[in-house]
Symmetry: C2
Subunit: 149 residues, 2 copies
Amino acid sequence: MKIEDEIKQAAFRDDYQKAHVNLIFTANWLQQQQSGFFKQFGLTLPQFNILRILRGQHPRPATVNLLIERMLDKTSNASRIVDKLEAKQLVTRRVCPSNRRAVDIRISEDGLALLGRLDAAMASQQFGVQNLTLAEAAQLSGLLDKIRD
Amino acid sequence: MKIEDEIKQAAFRDDYQKAHVNLIFTANWLQQQQSGFFKQFGLTLPQFNILRILRGQHPRPATVNLLIERMLDKTSNASRIVDKLEAKQLVTRRVCPSNRRAVDIRISEDGLALLGRLDAAMASQQFGVQNLTLAEAAQLSGLLDKIRD
DNA sequence: GATTATTAAATGTATGTACATATATTTGTC
DNA sequence: GACAAATATATGTACATACATTTAATAATC
């Protein structure tokens, strides 16, 4: 559906405004698709992202700082997202022996198993970006990088 | 900065994943830019968006349903965002005479004045999308529409 | 016209975002 | 080694998101 119809707006001031609105709208759209998917597994999107970072580190631990560095949203509160994952026993949290200010966070066996099930489910799930050709996806990345220059 | 460096990830599985992450990241980046800007005026981004819809309706009222229809994020809670605007006396809220279930929401004189100041400030503010050429912005919109097909 | 269904908005609860502040630990400096 | 500065994380608060439930008014059906 064209963006004008999605938000029931007749027209945009110019193509800049249209692209801007379209970008925000499409990102929300994608995230909502994903959220619904992860919900089946009892995870939110930020929780999934952190879990995936922890799997990338496994079996080495990650600190909160490392999580923040790698998260898409730097200002979100990694500490409290880890709280939720810990409550579900998907991660473990232990004071780092070599630096007692820091906390070593590791994905648990349960967490690894859950991500395994998610991998399988995601493989059979087409997310929106795949409506593009690979060349178009690359082109899109180029345009997005230019926006943030 | 390239997206790989922004989130300190060495590489992506393919250009689909890269475009997907880049899209979410860039949308967040843009929204944070805007948030900082609106904060100077005591508004959050959703509050500004609702205020702008109300100006579009002015002097006719809008209902909560109409606001939701036109909002970028359909699932957000328009009712409570209007609460905040009402507390700042930027909008008025009155039971609709012809349908007492509905509520007529209108932008106040204060609200119009605030948007007026924002218009002026925004005119002298370059937001990220303007790093693109107009043709690139149009191309971006086309790609985004295709994602949501 | 009483009863049920639908609609419009508000409210409740859990989670996340954004930002400031607090607490504990480590590092640097005298 | 005492004391200040820096670092790592946690906590507090306001706002927003996501979704279920509630309340009130209107519409539909018998």
